[in-house]
């Protein structure tokens, strides 16, 4: 399926430009296939050993093998009907080697012994062919083998085991609520992921992992028939590293936001649809924003994406070094800034942490895709740049004797490389609620939900929009605004950070579709934050006439 067609078929709209390779090549299957135990660990170990031995015999000095089974389920609906139920499975093997100091990789979906050995030999021949174009041999940070180990997302209810009727009934009730609330159109989607990943390497690791993710979302559309104008309001859910329990919000998962209910850890899709239908009515008649400087109070449902683009990407070491120069770009956070130990990234309230361990997060796994145990580390401390994101072949460049465990491939068919772990803004250290923050704002805008986003290739200049905007006047939330986008420069923006709510407001946002690399790969990543204030940020008006 082409991305373009997928987007059209699922009515996902413009935002979702990246799809997992495992889906593009995936096979449609009977959902009952998902519950089959496709292949046992002993069999995977035998296959992996075939690849390890074949590569070694052809001259590889290091080999790792990833045998992956990637399952996706999409339930796509609009108004009163199911548009599409898509079940896909992708299964295959990717073999990465070092030979003559150079990386080589090959992958196949044919897992018989001869094919695996042939694929391993192809990986070695590619490495040898490329060795003549090297300037220096690959240098891997040491990594001890873990032996035979396993890890599983701590889900309470496997979403693939939930009967399809239950999923369809839920989406139908959500759509019905929006339509009864005055929507003209309602599209809703349930997106489930299960990655069954087996990793083996010549370091002596045999790692079996079972990773689950879920994303319920919708778009409500309202049209003014007289003028032909329309507005949309997207769900305030977040994709999560959870099972179907995410769909069952408990009282403690509801946060009384400054303008409506928000969700922590778990989500009430039906309630959000009801709320959304009311809000979209207000959005139609909202005041068009007066451009100028405002103090922004940004909810985590919006701020997660700003953190992703302006903090997550520029601290990826491969970008800093130039490995992404031809596609995703480089970074303004050059090595000299890090080495100085004094680079002022943001105000001293700003503490950014990287991790692949946070419960319920999209990035959480036990081991990364080159067999390194996952960790947590500081990236920005009290406003100063202190670290990057590095994998085994980069660790030595920043003086580390170990990888930080953030290597990932979106499919067995693609080469693993450095990908963003969860990157989060630590909550404020002093007790503070979003209401406490707003009461000191004279002229501001409160922003909820993510929408349009764009940033330059070195991560200086960005522009973000949102789902809902409310005027703040003299410490009080006022009327709804529309046509709002904020534009800033990363360093100026984070230095304008003047208040962060405490941990009681901390929530995870995230994306299933972080795109990087050539061929393009996507990755799922979470970003935690509490409601945060930024002073004097430039806001533009995006209304136009055609």
């Amino acid at each position: 399926m082409k991305r373009k067609e997928f987007i059209r078929n699922t009515s996902l709209g413009m935002g979702a430009l990246f799809l997992p390779k495992s889906m593009l090549y995936a096979r449609h299957v009977d959902p009952s296939v998902f519950l089959e135990n496709k292949i046992d660990v002993a069999q995977k170990k035998r296959m992996a050993d075939v690849a390890l031995n074949a590569a070694r015999s052809k001259g590889a000095t290091y080999t790792d093998v990833r045998i992956g089974r990637y399952l996706n389920q999409f339930v796509v609906t609009r108004e009163d009907r199911v548009e599409n139920i898509v079940n896909t499975e992708s299964f295959g093997i990717g073999i990465r080697v070092i030979a003559n100091g150079s990386w080589g990789f090959a992958a196949t979906d044919n897992l018989d012994t001869d094919s695996i050995a042939k694929t391993a030999a192809l990986a070695v021949s590619i490495a040898k062919e490329n060795a003549r174009l090297l300037t220096e041999p690959v240098q891997l940070a040491p990594q001890k083998g873990y032996g035979e180990v396993s890890w599983k997302t701590p889900i309470e209810k496997n979403a693939f085991e939930v009967p399809m009727k239950e999923k369809v009934d839920l989406l139908m009730s959500v759509n019905d609520a929006a339509m009864k609330g005055g929507a003209n159109y309602m599209n809703s989607l349930l997106f489930l992921v299960n990655e069954q990943k087996y990793f083996a390497s010549t370091d002596g690791s045999y790692i079996d992992q079972d990773v689950h993710r879920i994303w319920p979302t919708f778009t409500i559309t309202k049209i003014d028939a007289a003028t032909g104008k329309f507005e949309t309001r997207d769900a305030l859910s977040s994709p999560m590293g959870m099972g179907f329990e995410y769909m069952n919000a408990r009282p403690e998962d509801r946060i009384k936001g400054l303008a409506g209910t928000l969700y922590k850890n778990r989500y009430d899709m039906l309630e959000d649809a009801r709320m959304g239908a009311q809000e979209i009515g207000l959005k139609m008649g909202a005041k068009s924003v007066e451009p100028g400087k405002y103090d922004l109070v940004i909810d985590p449902t919006n701020l997660f994406l700003t953190i992703h683009e302006s903090t997550g990407h520029p601290t990826e070491l491969d970008r800093v070094l130039g490995y992404e120069a031809n596609y995703a770009g480089t970074s303004f956070l050059t090595l000299d800034k890090w080495k100085s130990g004094k680079f002022n990234y943001g105000s001293n309230l700003v503490n950014i942490v990287a991790d692949k361990t946070q419960p319920y997060s999209l990035g959480a796994v036990g081991y990364d895709d080159e067999g390194v145990g996952t960790q947590e580390w500081d990236i920005i401390k009290d406003g100063t740049l202190v670290n990057y994101q590095a994998i085994r072949d980069q660790a030595h460049i920043i003086g580390l004797d170990h990888s930080q465990g953030c290597c990932f491939a979106d499919s067995w068919s693609d080469i693993q490389f450095q990908r963003m772990p969860n990157i989060s803004l630590r909550p404020g250290k002093v007790p503070m609620t979003p209401a406490d923050i707003v009461k000191n704002v004279e002229k501001g805008i409160y922003i909820v939900g993510a929408s349009s986003y764009s940033i330059d290739q070195q991560r200086y200049n960005f522009q973000f929009s949102g789902q809902l905007f409310y005027e703040i006047k003299n410490g009080k939330i006022g009327q709804m605004l529309k046509d709002v986008a904020y534009q800033s420069n990363t360093q100026e923006f984070w230095n304008a950070c003047s208040a962060i709510a405490d941990k009681s407001d901390y929530r995870l946002g995230g994306s299933f579709f972080d795109g990087k690399g050539q061929p393009g790969q996507i990755s799922a990543v979470s970003h935690g934050a509490s409601t945060t204030r930024f002073n004097g940020i430039n806001v533009i008006n995006t209304a136009r006439k055609i």
Binding site: D109, Y323, A485
Partner: protein, 444 residues
Amino acid sequence: MAILNKEQAQQLLKKVLSYSKADECEINISGSEGGNIRYARNAVSTSGGVSQNSLVVSSAFGKKLGVATINEFDDASLEKVVRRSEELAQLAPENPEYVSFLGPQVYKESATYVPATGAIDPKFRADAVATSLKIAKDNKLVAAGFMQNSSGYSAMMNSHGLFAYNKSSNVDFNVTLRTEDGKGSGYASKGFNDVNKLDVASATKFAAGKATGSATAKALEPGKYTVILEPAASIVLLENMFFAMDARQADEGRSFLSKGDGKTKLGEKLVDDKVTIYSDPQHPEIPTSTWNGDGRPQEKINWINKGVIENLYYSRYWAEKKKVKAVPSPDGIIMEGTNASLEDLIKGTEKGILVTRLWYIRSVDPQTLLLTGLTRDGTFYIENGQIKFPVKNFRFNESPIIMLNNLDALGKPERCVSGESGISALIPPMRIRDFTFSSLSDAV
């Protein structure tokens, strides 16, 4: 399994179809082989090869559809996948928008496969990278680039007698060269069905010129400027207009083509009359498959003719409901131009900005198609018909509709690849008045 020729594919599909007991059955098969190589910091970084095959069976009972897929091709597996699709169809809810599979169609031969491209091997790719790296090093520049090739086939057959087959090949090459001090950057991107048309050295030299030339950029105030967009810059704006030309979205009132009360702008003049955009699967510069994924023939279609919206694309369901021809969305965009070169456009510009590439394009408002993004890899100030100096990159907020109303001049179309979606198009360089740059970026 190797790449099947037309007869082999037909034979296999007939066998699969013979297992069907459903009211209707349709089978799609595809397979590909290919490889890629990536380089950065003037050395190769990663490289790989991948091959895969897939067979999809769609079975329908009434308006209930079941789909199952397999990548094993022995008789037992093939029968099993047909049975599985039938079981799924029996369990599926009725789809009120289900449309029966198409009957036999007549397709023109496509020109999408070139044997030389199919013959590319790891050595060929490594040699190409070596050529590109030498140019970078000779010019004291730092290169990062990517080359990938694939060849494959797709075929389909159904119980109403439809059979379609296509074989295709393609190769993409793109490269970014940066000055050693990181102050200049240049980019080139090429994509072809025929590898013989790919000149890696020439593309790398083009990027090198942009990199060296952009190294001493000055800051200009943001605002409205006359711009010359090279094809790699304009494609990423035009494709957003193209992706939004779905008839149903327009009819439902949620598109830039909607007018309210269920009316659309189909048939209306929306942009400058110099704008003619069409698709043609037989075009020698940008051949595409002569059928789409559900078996509809791809024909030459005018989308915008002299500024008038002439066609929208339809799903088969929506076309049936609206009682119109079900025109499928095309695979290649072609915009008419003139014989003027890029240099001619520059010569005719009193004051303006030359844009090599636009990047990170996102929709800001779907009802006006307002897009935002940034210039990248070579932005230059033009005065009195000459490039005067490089300028710092800008963020823009602009709609392709407004932009095509402010169209001043067109040059000669050339094949380009979108840096955003990866689609190929044949687009002329264009000069636009009053293009809106809203802020400056420090990025190089």
